[in-house]
Amino acid sequence: MFKSLIIIMKKELRRVFTDRRLIITNFILPMVSIAVIYSIMGMMISKTNNDIESHVTTIAAVNVPAEIGALIDADPTMVYTSVDFSKEEAETLLRDDVYDFYLYFEPDFEAKLEAFDGTNLPLVEGLYSPKSDVSIEASYKIGSLFEVYRNQVLADRLGGESFLSVFSLSTSEIMIPEENKGIDRGIAYLIPMLVSIFIFAGAMGIGMDSIAGEKERGTIATMLLTPVDRGMIIGGKVLSLAVVALISTLSSFIGVIISIPFSANFLSSGGSFDMSQFALGGAELMMFFICMIGLVGMYVTIISVLSMIANSVKEAGAYITPAYMVVMITGFLNMFGSSDVSGINYYIPVYNNIVNMKQILLGDGNWGMVMISFATSAVITLALLVVARKLIHKERVVFPS
């Protein structure tokens, strides 16, 4: 009985792995495109950062006090030009990127500062363009510059820099035991989403081809003539699809790893992509794999059922695309939503697998939760298998006309 399942599965895998076109579109292309896209994104982000860093901020300043002028001059990344134009004129110049920042000191700024009596604050105004990255950066720089200036003024008033300190505050990190240490939070949020999307994408193309395509080409009907139970035919196809999905996911991840030298800055929020912390323990790996298998089961069976209903590859694509979108949205939800999952949320299929994977990566994996998500995945997978089995026995499904 199960011998025929294996025969069908082998044939399906042979079909995929001897077809150069399928190998390229399902394994090579995703790997290469992910490597290229991620690298380009990473390079663009670091280029923008570098551009901003190497840019010399130009400031148009009115009535600059000597002390501030000196502070600006001391910073090699900023230059200022003394001007006398109005705020309105400055706005146009900022809009046209002639200057990055406009700084206006009221004419008696210094006098007011000297004579300060607790009221009547001396006025300084700044303008920047929120549309320009360098202008935004300039506003940060001016902010810190004035922080320094304020401390100077205060130190003068109080009679020494030491008076600026009010108390000593010291905060330290607690020690995290080595085994419990997860990886960078950004990566922990990103990877489950990628795994989920890669699995679905990896099974989608070949699933449509091996079921809807075989229906369309009339090759599945030939198999129905053999004594093999029809359920075994669909079972063999589903199993082979699971293998394909796992291999495809792996190849997509190789793509991610290839891109790391360039993409580390956006893959991990911090900028360091420390591979040494990637080493999950045996139990963690096991848990992670179980979560993946749960996703594979559900995705492969849903793709199979939809391909079964469809009468052509094109139609299958139309049915499967919405499911793919749901998968993507579920992944994104997990990235931006809070990870505080409790009670009923743990029984939401797909979502619970993804949350578990995230927790595992953060070093908070929990066997109980993993088992709950695996059980819900298994229930869904089995239910869809029953549906697929029912469908393949239906005349209108197998022989549409």
């Binding site: 025929s4 030939t222 022989f399």
Partner: protein, 259 residues
């Protein structure tokens, strides 16, 4: 041995099909109650115009689709309840069944042999014999995609016969074949008959039917209009060849001839 008793088959029509057929009926009876028996050591021919219900009848026999009414038995196995055994007993060929063009004849024949539960040595023997007879051997490792139409058809025949079944049901087996290849197929059917097999073929070629079939059933609009040996058909219609007999039956059953 094949028994067909009161076989009816209706198809639910989709909205599109209803407008195409210009009918308000939601169902279409493709086969409207037919009975026949085919014996071992016999070639039985199904003749009939396009859409008469020949293929539908044969698909029911092959358990690909389920009869709406009536029963089928193949070598004593019931089509409705013992589909698996029925399929073990028979070969079925029809043009809607295709082979995956990505594989080679060698792999395809092995794959179907395995699905029939045959041992590798048995598969090898059957394959060598059939490939040699039908001239597939030189193309054994050529992708099916690269084979000619005739070679593909011959391979389909080989694959359908890989498990050496007792019952052979071929729907228009010589369709699209040149006369030499067609002759090879009909000769092989004669060999199968001499081995005592039960054979049903459908064809639009009257000369093939005349030469090959022991008995013939003429099906029109889902019903058998005449059945018997060639001589019995000639006697019934008062004609001396199958062509004329066929036209005669068509006209007397209310069919309109447009010349």
């Amino acid at each position: 041995m094949i028994h067909v008793k009161g076989l009816k088959k209706s198809f639910k029509l989709s909205k599109k099909q209803m407008t195409e057929n210009k009918s308000k009926e939601k169902q279409k009876y493709a086969v409207k109650g037919i009975d026949f028996i085919v014996n071992d050591n016999e070639i039985f021919g199904l003749l009939g115009p396009n859409g008469a219900g020949k293929t539908t009848t044969m698909r029911c026999l092959a358990t690909l689709i389920n009869p709406t009414e009536g029963s089928i038995s193949v070598n004593g196995f019931d089509g409705a309840t013992e589909g698996e055994q029925v399929r073990r007993e028979l070969a079925f060929l029809t043009n809607e069944l295709k082979l995956d063009t990505h594989f080679t004849p060698d792999y395809t024949a092995r794959f179907f042999g395995r699905l029939h539960g045959l041992d590798e040595t048995v598969i090898e023997e059957r394959m060598n014999h059939l490939f040699d007879y039908f001239g597939v051997t030189p193309f054994r490792f050529t992708k099916i995609n690269d084979l000619s139409t005739g070679m593909k058809q011959k391979l389909s025949i080989v694959v359908s016969l890989i498990h050496d079944p007792q019952v052979v049901i071929f729907d228009e087996p010589t369709n699209g074949l040149d006369i030499i290849t067609a002759r090879a197929v009909t000769e092989y059917l004669k060999i199968l008959k001499s081995q005592g097999k039960t054979i049903i073929i459908s064809t639009h070629m009257m000369h093939v039917a005349e030469k090959l079939c022991d008995r013939i059933a003429v099906i029109m609009d889902g019903e058998i209009k005449a059945m018997g040996t060639l001589d019995e058909i000639y006697k019934l219609t008062g004609k001396g060849n199958l062509d004329d007999a066929f036209f005669n039956l068509y006209e007397t059953s209310g069919g309109q001839m447009h010349v």
